[in-house]
């Protein structure tokens, strides 16, 4: 066909249907010959943002890195962050120690980085030494003598008092008897106790004298016995003072030695002194087996021996990592993993704990450095996001127990000192999540002032292709895969452009490329090849398509079996093949849809049947409304629109969204109005604006291939093809079979810039322009449309005249 409108629409040249990779400037046989690219590739903006955020010391300049999934942001950013962390000061170690005054409030002590294990060992060794040396001191001759002397003195005092009392009693012929519960007194005669019967036979005077003597002696007995607790207390005090003095002498040298090792740390020295004081108070645990056993029984309720109260809980130490600050990744940011936890164990039905069961979280380990968190994982864990913000606001980490949040009481709890926090937080997430947070959470902007926006793709050039080749080679080497040859690299680069859906771009979502390369490696291995070639990459891509194509093939089958009616030859009035893309998971494919239009006189309304039944999304509805604007702007400037048209996607029973079919809808509408048939061997995609300009759409490659597959299955006629927006030609990265068919003249892709161009190609009739008289050319599509609308207007006026106020059509 030819027309003044179509004469300039030529099919896209085959070489523009698929842009081949250009590796001519890169000399290599396989990727093993290429140096890998470390860190970030073509992410200048994100790289600068991360470097800035990492260097920024002010509060709130934490980093939120956003990008599409598969961009390996975290992996790439970590290299930058590791470099920045190396320049940071070496963070402090933190330990928890017992609070001897308030046992439930363990004390946090800071030490210079790497010194905590040494402190722990030194204290442990000191206690171990004292467990041996203190008992020896208390078993020494000197101590035993002094202790014995004290005990003897007190005992002697009591015994002397008793002996004196006994003597006084004996002088009065009275004896003091020991009863099961105390003491009594009885008269004696000749050294023997006088039986009651005999006593009762004594003269009254003798009895009374005896009673008087006993009464007096009872007072003395009472005084003597009441004095015993005082003397015993005096003994205990004296023994305690002796024990303390003995212990002080014994513990002084090891404690002085310990203090000397940490003389530069006042807080540690203070704790050592508190430890010494507590040890002297509780020296019996070291000395007496019974006291130690009792203390052990009590301490078992706290899951610790009596000596464990002196041990050191090394909470965080830098001893195991190299220079600079830590960079910690927390893949599972539960509240406990983030801010630490207090562990409990069950003892006799109760949950008990002690300061040694306090465990550090990721924020503690990252303190002084950086922590990397996945934003979605963080938000998915209860309380974690709030806890992180609290920690950043207060600049300290408090260990928070989820059980308390949800009302579960624990029998023994701790309130450890919070740890001061100085950490750079780097969150990674997708764009939608970031923009939702920034708009809905006012604290988000307060704490995450640095946005690192990772590009999804880069401009395609020989230089960027060479960069991608090195990146792919590095990924293969890192994954232990076979190297790729030049063909394999080229094919992978072309696939990167296809993933970017743009011949002029290359995707930076390298995980998708990595998956393809991994599959190709497997195929190459199965075939016994030592390198991955283009055929392996091609086969891997085909394999992935095949695995996801079941629904696509079923849809195609329905079309080929005429269950879903799609014509690929002939012409129809008011009917056109539209194209849509279906996305199922990570697989997308195109398929044709029949779009039809019916017109009649009416009130100027275009009925979008999809919208009427709520199957049409807002963008789709917008596209249809634009058609009204186009019609009115072109054909109803002088007369009102007297048209009612209904548009529908035939045999479509699911939701329809997007405006990429709006040009097809307009073609079918114009065809219906002009009563000119449209070619069914062409499919159409492209959105249209109110001025009739055809605009770019997405998924152009899938749409073309979807229609091609139908036509190829039925047998290519040589006239079939797809009309695409001219602005989409730059996105073409079609399959090799499609390119071959186009090169052979058996299929074609037509770039269309305007509705007039498109209608002319579809109808085989020029669209027509307005002449000097303002009328469209005779026989043109526009003329026919305009004439038809005039007839509708007349019919409507006639109908309204007959019926008074006319009803809408």
């Amino acid at each position: 066909m030819s027309s003044e409108d179509t004469q300039f629409i030529r099919a896209v040249a085959p070489e523009r249907l698929h842009r081949a990779a250009d590796l001519g400037g890169l000399a290599f046989e396989t990727t093993a010959d290429l140096a890998a690219l470390p860190g970030l590739v073509h992410q200048q903006r994100a790289q600068e943002a991360i470097s800035f955020g990492a260097a920024m010391g002010q509060r709130g300049f934490n980093i939120f890195a956003i990008g599409a999934g598969g961009a390996r942001m975290q992996h790439a950013a970590k290299t930058l962050l590791d470099d920045a962390a190396r320049a940071r000061a070496y963070p402090r170690d933190w330990v928890y120690v017992a609070n001897f005054a308030e046992a439930h409030r363990p004390v946090a002590l800071a030490l210079p980085g790497g010194r905590a294990p040494g402190f722990q060992k030194a204290v442990h060794d000191l206690i171990d030494d004292l467990r041996v040396s203190l008992p020896a001191v208390f078993e020494s001759e000197d101590y035993q003598k002094r202790r014995g002397s004290i005990e003897q003195a007190i005992q002697a005092k009591n015994e002397q008092a008793f002996a004196a009392l006994n003597e006084r009693a004996a002088a009065k012929n009275i004896v003091i008897l020991r009863t099961p519960m105390g003491f009594g007194m009885a008269p004696v005669k000749n050294g023997k106790v006088v039986p009651p019967a005999e006593f009762n036979g004594w003269p009254e005077a003798a009895q009374q004298e005896t009673q008087a003597a006993i009464a007096e002696l009872e007072k003395e007995l009472e005084q003597t016995l009441r004095a015993i607790p005082r003397t015993e207390k005096a003994q205990r005090d004296a023994l305690r003072a002796l024990d303390r003095e003995t212990a002080e002498v014994a513990v002084a040298p090891p404690f002085e030695h310990l203090k000397a090792a940490f003389a530069d740390l006042p807080a540690v020295l203070a704790h050592i002194e508190a430890m010494r004081a507590d040890l002297l108070e509780n020296v019996q645990y070291f000395v007496s087996p019974e006291a130690a056993a009792q203390g052990a029984a009590q301490a078992a309720m706290r899951l610790a021996g009596p000596f464990d109260r002196y041990e050191i809980n090394v909470f965080v130490t830098q001893a195991d990592h190299g220079a600079g600050a830590p960079v910690i990744e927390e893949p599972h940011p539960t509240l406990a993993n983030l801010v630490g936890r207090i562990e409990y164990q069950q003892v006799q039905g109760a949950l008990v704990t002690n300061f040694r069961l306090i465990k550090a979280g990721a924020l503690h380990r990252a303190n002084g450095g950086m922590i990397l968190l996945d934003a979605r994982s963080l938000l998915s864990e209860p309380y974690s996001w709030q806890a992180l913000k609290r920690a950043l606001l207060r600049q300290e980490v408090t260990i928070e127990d989820v059980a308390r949040f949800i009302g579960l009481a624990t029998t023994v709890s701790l309130e450890p000192d919070p740890i001061p926090l100085d950490v750079k937080v780097v969150l990674f997430g997708d764009r939608m999540l970031y923009y939702m947070l920034i708009s809905l959470d006012p604290e988000m902007a307060q704490h995450f002032k640095v946005l690192a926006d990772f590009d999804d793709e880069m401009d395609r050039s020989p230089e960027s292709e060479a960069m991608l080749a090195r990146l792919i080679g590095g990924m293969a080497a890192e994954g232990g895969l076979r190297p790729l040859d030049r063909g394999g690299v080229a094919r992978a680069i072309e696939h990167a452009a296809r993933v970017a859906d743009d011949a002029g771009k290359l995707t930076l979502m390298v995980e998708r490329l990595q998956d393809v390369v991994a599959e190709a490696d497997h195929l190459a291995g199965r075939a016994g090849r030592g390198v991955i070639g283009a055929a392996d990459i091609e086969q891997a891509i085909a394999g992935r398509i095949h695995r996801g194509a079941r629904i696509q093939e079923r849809g195609r089958e329905m079309i080929l079996r005429d269950i879903a009616l799609i014509e690929t030859s002939g012409a129809r009035v008011g009917q056109v093949n539209g194209l849509s893309v279906l996305s199922l998971g990570d697989y997308a494919f195109g398929q044709p849809s029949r779009i039809t239009c019916q017109v009649r006189p009416g009130a100027g309304r275009i009925i979008d049947i999809e919208r009427e039944v709520k199957l049409g999304g807002p963008i789709h509805s917008k596209g249809v409304l634009i058609l009204s604007g186009f019609l009115a702007g072109r054909y109803a400037l002088e007369v009102p629109m007297s048209l009612t048209a209904s548009l529908v996607f035939e045999q479509s029973y699911g939701g329809v969204e997007g405006d990429s079919a709006s040009s097809a809808e307009l073609y079918s509408l114009l065809s219906a109005l002009a009563e000119v048939p449209l070619r069914q061997d062409l499919a159409v995609t492209g959105s249209v604006n109110q001025h009739g300009m055809v605009q770019a759409i997405g998924g152009v490659n899938e749409k073309i291939e979807g229609f091609f597959d139908i036509c190829a299955a039925r047998g290519l006629t040589g006239t079939q093809g797809v009309m695409i927006p001219a602005s989409n030609v730059q996105h073409l990265m079609l399959r090799a079979d499609v390119v071959a068919a186009c090169a052979a003249g058996r299929f074609a892709v037509y770039p269309v810039a305007s509705i007039d161009e498109g209608i002319a190609l579809l109808a085989g009739v020029p669209a027509g322009g307005r002449g000097a008289d303002g009328a469209y050319a005779e026989g043109s599509v526009n003329r026919r449309v305009e004439d038809r609308l005039r007839r509708f207007a007349a019919a409507r006026r006639e109908a309204e005249g007959e019926h008074g106020e006319g009803k809408p059509g």
């Binding site: 001759e141 014995g148 005990e151 003897q152 005992q155 015994e159 008793f162 002996a163 004896v175 008897l177 020991r178 009863t179 099961p180 519960m181 105390g182 003491f183 009594g184 007194m185 009885a186 008269p187 023997k192 106790v193 039986p195 009651p196 019967a197 006593f199 009762n200 009673q211 006993i214 009464a215 009872e218 007995l221 009472e222 016995l225 009441r226």
Partner: protein, 258 residues
């Protein structure tokens, strides 16, 4: 000592706080070393029971420190309960570790009961310097209050060659695996003492004989000096335990007077 040259048992009065857990353990240790039974007694003092018959008698009760009238039946019940508690203390403290033991409740005057119970081959254990009960015929083991059994040399004080302290001290030293220190008066044949000690099972290298004056406790104290001994074995002084009280209080070690 009996003609068989051995002891039969250790007799320990454990009533009314006369002996506590430490004393039981110490007595048991010596019973094991001597290879004898530990015989514990609880004596229900008749005089105590008779107190209830005195119209003016009352009891000063501890730990409440108040005076209470004495009820005979209550007092008897308390005595019985005290006996039970004493038995429980014995069982709890010593467990079942192989030293034969017995427990007996007696009623009467304590000293007379002990004297009546003990034979010449018994050893009466007395805890502390004021412990009651003198059994004239029996040997006597004086234990310091709160004494914990310990290692150290066994000391025998011999006034003459036929002093029975040597044999007993050798038996204890051999059983304990410890050394023997003999403080021998001038009349003692040193070589004979060594030979007898070795024959009794004390390793030859662990026998020390020192010829010193042993007539007075002060002499013995001086001879012992800074040594750490576990027991001093000597013949019972004719004048009684009071004569050795100074030695006992000075060394604060068990003394076996035979």
């Amino acid at each position: 000592m009996s003609e068989s040259d051995g002891f039969r048992r250790l007799v320990l009065d454990i009533g009314h706080g006369a002996a506590d857990a430490a004393a039981l353990r110490a007595a048991e240790a010596f019973a094991r070393l001597l290879g004898v039974e530990l015989h514990c007694v609880f004596i229900e003092d008749e005089a105590v029971l008779a107190l209830a018959g005195l119209p003016f008698a009352r009891e000063y009760r501890l730990p409440t420190h108040d005076w209470s009238p004495i009820d005979a039946s209550a007092l008897a019940a308390e005595l019985r309960h005290a006996a039970v508690q004493a038995r429980q203390l014995l069982d709890r403290t010593l467990g079942d570790d192989g030293v034969p033991r017995a427990f007996e409740v007696l009623r009467g005057e304590p000293a007379a009961c002990l004297a009546g119970l003990c034979r010449t081959d018994d050893i009466v254990v007395r805890v502390g310097p004021q412990a009651r009960g003198a059994a004239p015929l029996a040997s006597c083991l004086l234990l310091p209050r709160g004494f914990q059994p310990r290692g150290g040399a066994v000391v025998a004080v011999m006034a003459g060659d036929d002093d029975p302290a040597l044999e007993v001290a050798c038996r204890i030293a051999a059983a304990a695996g410890d050394g023997l220190m003999v403080l021998a008066g001038r009349a003692v044949d040193e070589a004979s003492v060594r030979a007898r000690a070795v024959a009794a099972g004390v390793p030859v290298g662990r026998v020390v004989v020192r010829c010193v004056a042993v007539g007075k406790p002060a002499d013995i104290l001086s001879a012992l000096g800074g040594m750490r001994e576990q027991v001093i074995v000597m013949a019972r002084p004719a004048a009684g335990e009071a004569e050795v009280a100074g030695l006992f209080e000075g060394r604060r070690v068990p003394m076996l007077l035979i």
